[in-house]
């Protein structure tokens, strides 16, 4: 399971509190992009966009890699952790549901047995 520390949560929370940064995440969800692409898309200076990406990077929401003169941004490792956490929650929900379903089924079995006895008698 994912371990969240208070500091990383603060960072995530701060990172997501800005509409542009949320837009950048959404954009990167569709395709990787360079900082220049992002700056253009969000009508922003390169310096401004670098700052936003920096905040997202610190929060682990975005990863960047510099190849030549271009810095490419992708969604960060945090997304993978979230995916794992989601499957975990899903599993937890279905395990809990099925335990209650066991109880319902046991009751049905019990009733059927009782009815069977009645019919035979």
């Amino acid at each position: 399971m994912v371990q969240y520390t208070s500091a990383s949560l603060d960072a995530s929370f701060a990172a997501l509190s800005d509409a542009t940064r949320r837009g950048v995440l959404e954009q990167l969800g569709r395709a990787d992009a360079s900082i220049t692409d992002l700056a253009e898309k969000f009508h922003m200076t390169l310096t401004g966009m670098k700052k936003h990406v920096g905040v997202l990077e610190q929060a682990g929401l975005v990863a960047t890699e510099k190849v030549g003169r271009v810095r490419t941004c992708t969604l960060g490792a945090r997304r993978l952790e979230e995916a794992a956490a989601w499957i975990e929650r899903y599993h937890h929900l279905w395990s809990a549901r099925f335990e209650e379903l066991d109880t319902v089924i046991e009751e049905l079995k019990r009733k059927e047995k009782a009815d069977g006895r009645k019919k035979r008698n």
Partner: protein, 169 residues
Amino acid sequence: MVEKREIESTPTKNRTTVERTSERELVVTRTFNAPARLVFEAWTRPELLKQWWVPKSMGMSLLSLDADVRTGGRYRLVFRHEDSTMEFFGKYLEVTPHSRLVWTNEESGDNASVTTVTFEETDGKTLLVMRELYPSKEALDAAGTGAADATVETFAQLDELLVTMGARS
């Protein structure tokens, strides 16, 4: 003490598995110690469905459940989890007694997934396989991690975590 409880309860409980089998599909499996007709009954009689679909142990409560369980019939259920109310609805595409159930999950609009449940009986036990097929990889990702609407979902998750952490400290 905790270990002991686990050992005692393990023999009666069957294991639930969840697996992402492809980019678009999640599969859940579980065996039940009863014939398929009883397991099927518990999935298709609304008054029985109500007893287990919204597990109390998860802090959820059922507000309403309407299900017209037949091919072409619709269902709608509403439940409460902490402070939010969640609504799920769709249509049964196939209801084949004791062996197969198929329905749509339409609450997420364009990302509607289709759930197929099969019941397979062997020696009085029933293997249940539930497949959730999403229209695309993106739709499945969105359902789980909210890649499409990272903002809303992640915010809600963070909120939850923050509340939990606040309660602990």
